[in-house]
């Protein structure tokens, strides 16, 4: 990527567009559209679920029958897939997900301490959403940033060498 002015840099940096297709219309419209898009795709259930979750923030339980009939699957199959993968959720979530790396390279740099701090600062355990609805905290097992641990991901942005102070700073800036 080449940029020679600030405006074009911001477009380059705007990775969020990738996952976030701003939701238009109600849940049913989003689901119907996604089903139409992926009905013919071989093995299309995962991309379909990703798309629904990106638009709505979660995969409503009420959408399972529609997904099942559209994809030619049973409800149990669709439910089975949603529950198998850590990324998929069937309850509403906070606006932004904070992924805290719990894996070994981060442990070696103090992530266990950071985990305690993050949980108490946000007032939630893993899987929990802050009272103001802004953040959901999730564990993650490696973000590929292991040379500069501990790592956390806020939305789609990864941060390196995060200690308690840095975490507070990141939250204050967000």
């Amino acid at each position: 990527m080449r940029v020679n002015c600030l405006n074009s840099l911001t477009t380059v940096l705007d990775f969020k567009n990738l996952y976030m297709n701003p939701s238009t219309g109600n849940h049913a419209t989003v689901v119907t559209r996604a089903v139409e898009k992926y009905a013919e795709t071989p093995g299309g259930l995962l991309p379909l679920l990703h798309e629904i979750q990106a638009s709505l923030g979660y995969i409503p339980k009420t959408s399972v029958p529609m997904i099942a009939s559209g994809m030619g699957l049973s409800r149990a199959e669709v439910h089975g897939v949603i529950s198998f993968y850590h990324d998929f959720h069937d309850e509403p979530r906070g606006e932004t997900t904070i992924h805290l790396c719990r894996a070994e390279a981060c442990q070696a740099m103090g992530s266990r301490l950071l985990e305690k701090h993050v949980k108490s600062r946000l007032g939630v355990d893993f899987g929990g959403t802050t009272k103001d609805g802004r953040y959901t905290l999730e564990p993650v097992y490696c973000l590929g940033n292991c040379a500069c641990s501990p790592s956390i991901r806020i939305g789609d942005d990864v941060h390196a060498r995060v200690d308690a102070d840095r975490f507070d700073q990141l939250l204050d800036m967000d």
Binding site: H50, C106, M109, R153, H159
Partner: protein, 514 residues
Amino acid sequence: MVRVFIPGDTTACALGANEVAAEILRQAQQRGLEVEVIRNGSRGAFWLEPLLEIDSDHGRLAFGQVSVDDVFELFEAGFPRPCEHETYLGKVADIEWLERQDRLTFARAGLTDPTSLEDYKKHGGYKGLKQALKMSPAEIVDEVTRSGLRGRGGAAFPTGIKWNTVLNTPADQKYVAANADEGDSGTFADRLLMEADPYQLIEGMTICAMAVGASQGYIYLRSEYPKALMILEQAINTAREANLLGDDIGASGRDFDIEVRVGAGAYICGEETSMLESLEGKRGLVRFKPPLPAIEGLFGKPTVVNNVLTLGAVSTVLAEGASHYEDYGCGRSRGTLTVQLAGNIRRGGLVEIPFGTSLRTLVEDFGGGTASGRPARAIQVGGPLGAYLPASQWDTPLDYESMSEVGAMLGHGGVVVFDDSVDMLEQARFAMEFCALESCGKCTPCRIGSVRGVELLDKIGIGDERSANMDLLEELCETLDGGSLCAMGGLTPMPVRSAVKYFPEDFERGLEDL
């Protein structure tokens, strides 16, 4: 116009590269200077990120660990012309940490704009495919076999043999699936390759398709890598526009296209059959083998499943010839080894070197010791299912055979250093916990035994019937070892047993120590 390079890589950005890039443009604008900022890939010297580079008559010059606050000073000192500043490192070519490596797969990383096809071709890209298109499928497979290339995903299976099986299995449809799940903690080589040199993966997959007769490829990418996704999508589109993907590639009469599929946060989906299930839109349950994926893989069709680095290396093998690649390495480990130095390490990053270098050389010479400055105590090699090795084992040469002789494995090349504050019982407990969390659920020892392992270690930790529980722990390891369908359950004993064997003192504390 002066060209300034600032990596767009995940780690570089995690250390502030975006902010530095923005500040450079701002300062340049204010001073009426024309600069072109190129978001290159990272060279993998992550400890030096954000690593800024500029062109000069003597080649590229580097500034290391640049922060936003440095930018104003840099401009005052004459930037973007060569200038004196505390971040100035001299010529990139002279940075010892990089200069001492043998970069084959990562030769272009950091040099180029990852999304530029022109850059890729200018630096030797697509030479391999051009060669391949002149050869018969069997000749391509033969070249790969002769190079001695073994899979880089963990199991180290000879790539040529796998391809040969797919080539010789008749079918109306075959697939190439790149395993970009990179689930092993402490590893980032696949990510770096995809973010810094994505066309190499695309080229390798295309060569593979030509060799085995596949017309569709998938890249199964973990969802933890959003930047890699963006870069891959862009590169695939560009390759399509240039007729390097799609119908009638380079007027060869052959078709091949690639789709990126994003995983959903399941470690087990890196196991090849689980990955195939996931690509089919199902739960990632591990399949029984046989049938091998090479015979009945994706949607029941013959499928090559290879790691990102394996497919990347194929481009080099075809471009430079099998013997060039084979010249690197030792014994039955041919080519280069990509080690990822991670955890508590001063100079972490990607080190590509010939097989056979020792852990000590890596961690002391390249790594510069621990980041904390305390003595290193344990090194975990090969991801979460790999062994923890104490100092007495650090002279073992890093190659597949030597590692297995000491009860360890190279895996995907992750090297995670811990200092002397590590509690090895905690680490063993984590291995069991991770197995419980990520088990696909098919085998009882893996699903239930791992939970039991956590409980046992908790008891041992408080000195509760220690010797009886230690015996039970070993029995449990035996059960996992023998009663697991795949290496998730089968290898979880490796970190656990190595912790017990090499660091027994951490399992001997009693109630009185608490």
